[in-house]
């Protein structure tokens, strides 16, 4: 499992490179992708794949929103790479495979499963984005003062580069 979580984290960072996420945010992206996969791995043994995906997606989105508030940047930066390990790419592949090999029963089963997983992600996103922004800024406000100082120093440096 540790290897898998590491793979999820590195894979997420690879996708944040592909989408030109600024380099300072790579650690957050890796953390989010890894955390999502930890939740998925823990749940998949006792729950179905859509259920596990739902809770993993919730973890990913909660963390994305929290980091976005903390770093004062758009949540999209974390959410898009972070959600990647959960997107049912494998499900789409198997559906195509079964259709081509004329196993239509299996094809509709896996296709439907991929759809369910997608809907689980949708539900996660819709629900967590209903939570008020003040909740996340409240949590971010609880961070130790030393962290905040470090962040502000980093932000100031970024602004200088921007000008």
């Amino acid at each position: 499992m540790i290897g898998q979580v590491l793979a999820a984290a590195v894979g997420t960072i690879a996708f944040s490179v592909l989408f030109s996420v600024p380099r300072v945010y790579y650690p957050y992206c890796g953390l989010i992708g890894g955390a999502g996969w930890v939740i998925y791995c823990l749940l998949i043994t006792s729950a179905s794949s859509p259920e596990a995906t739902f809770f993993a997606a919730i973890a990913v989105i909660l963390l994305s929103r929290l980091f976005a508030v903390w770093e004062r940047c758009p949540v999209t930066l974390f959410l898009i790479p972070g959600i990647f390990p959960l997107v049912p790419g494998a499900g789409v592949y198997w559906t195509a495979y079964y259709i081509v090999t004329d196993q239509l029963g299996l094809a509709s089963e896996t296709g439907f499963m991929a759809l369910k997983v997608a809907v689980a992600i949708v539900l996660g996103i819709v629900l967590i984005f209903q939570l008020p922004q003040s909740l996340f800024s409240g949590i971010a406000g609880l961070a130790p003062a030393a962290w905040k100082r470090r962040r502000d120093k980093k932000t100031n440096r970024k602004e200088r580069i921007g000008k």
């Binding site: 592909l18 030109s20 790479p81 990647f84 390990p85 819709v126």
Partner: protein, 257 residues
């Protein structure tokens, strides 16, 4: 202060955001923020997934209207972050309109990652996801190589020359073909896991995620267009993979799992 210039600046900010994968809500909010800060109170923006309609003016202020078509293109999230940062700083009072305009120009040409970095990232992503979906280390190594070649194809052939549909079908077919070759020279043990890993860089994560968020925000038109975009790409990839498998079984290959 020239209102026209304010509106042009707001439009430009919206343009960069929309083009680079921001959600509709953020585009509207940024345009509103910029207009309001510089004192243009009667501005109205209507944003769709591929266009911005901006009007301003009332009986006392001059009328202004502008429509801009914005074709869907790649996601450069660094630009989204930069415009977001700029709009915060504008609100904090650090920028005159001219300065904001100039900064937007430099954001617009902000370089993304180099092609070499993107290709490498695609390979690493493919390898990692292959491992994640149950492939062995050897499978992952093969997926890494296929991911590299796939992105060479995407950057030099698919994006500049092919339409989205043909590009994704060809991408899916190319990945499957390469994986089959690697599989036959015994670089990789599980064909399926290799294909699944290597296909991930094609998966439309940006339109999929943005579609859901737009629909959740109530922007149904843009949300459904983006969802259609994502579904189409998913479907095309599956078609490419399926076509290659059909050819493979026709010429007598055994589909081993």
């Amino acid at each position: 202060m020239n209102e026209r210039e304010v509106l042009e600046t707001a439009m430009e900010a919206g343009h960069i955001l929309l083009e680079n994968g921001a959600e509709i809500f953020r585009v509207e909010e940024t345009i509103d923020r910029i207009c309001r800060y510089y004192g243009v109170d009667y501005a109205n923006a209507f944003v769709l997934s591929n266009g911005i309609f901006l009007t301003a003016g009332n009986l006392r202020q001059q009328y202004f209207a502008k429509v801009q078509h914005i074709p869907v293109s790649g996601a450069h999230l660094n630009r989204v972050a930069a415009v977001n940062q700029l709009s915060r700083e504008i609100e904090a009072g650090h920028y005159t309109v001219e300065e904001a305009r100039k900064t937007l120009e430099s954001i617009k040409t902000m370089p993304g990652k180099t092609k070499r970095m993107q290709i490498l990232a695609s390979g690493i992503g493919s390898g990692c996801f292959c491992y994640l979906f149950g492939g062995s280390l050897l499978d992952s190594a093969a997926a890494f190589a296929v991911g590299l070649i796939l992105y060479l194809f995407v950057l030099y052939i698919s994006v500049p020359r092919l339409s989205k549909i043909v590009g994704n079908i060809a991408g899916g077919a190319l990945v499957t073909l390469l994986c089959m070759v690697f599989y036959h020279i015994h670089l990789g043990e599980h064909l399926n896991h290799m294909v699944i890993g290597a296909i991930i860089p094609l998966v439309p994560g940006v339109p999929f995620t943005n579609a859901i968020r737009d629909i959740a925000d109530g922007d149904y038109i843009s949300g459904s267009v983006r969802m259609l975009d994502a579904m189409l790409v998913f479907f095309c990839i599956a078609m490419g993979v399926g076509m290659m498998f059909t050819v493979y079984s026709r010429i007598g290959g055994v589909m081993a799992l």
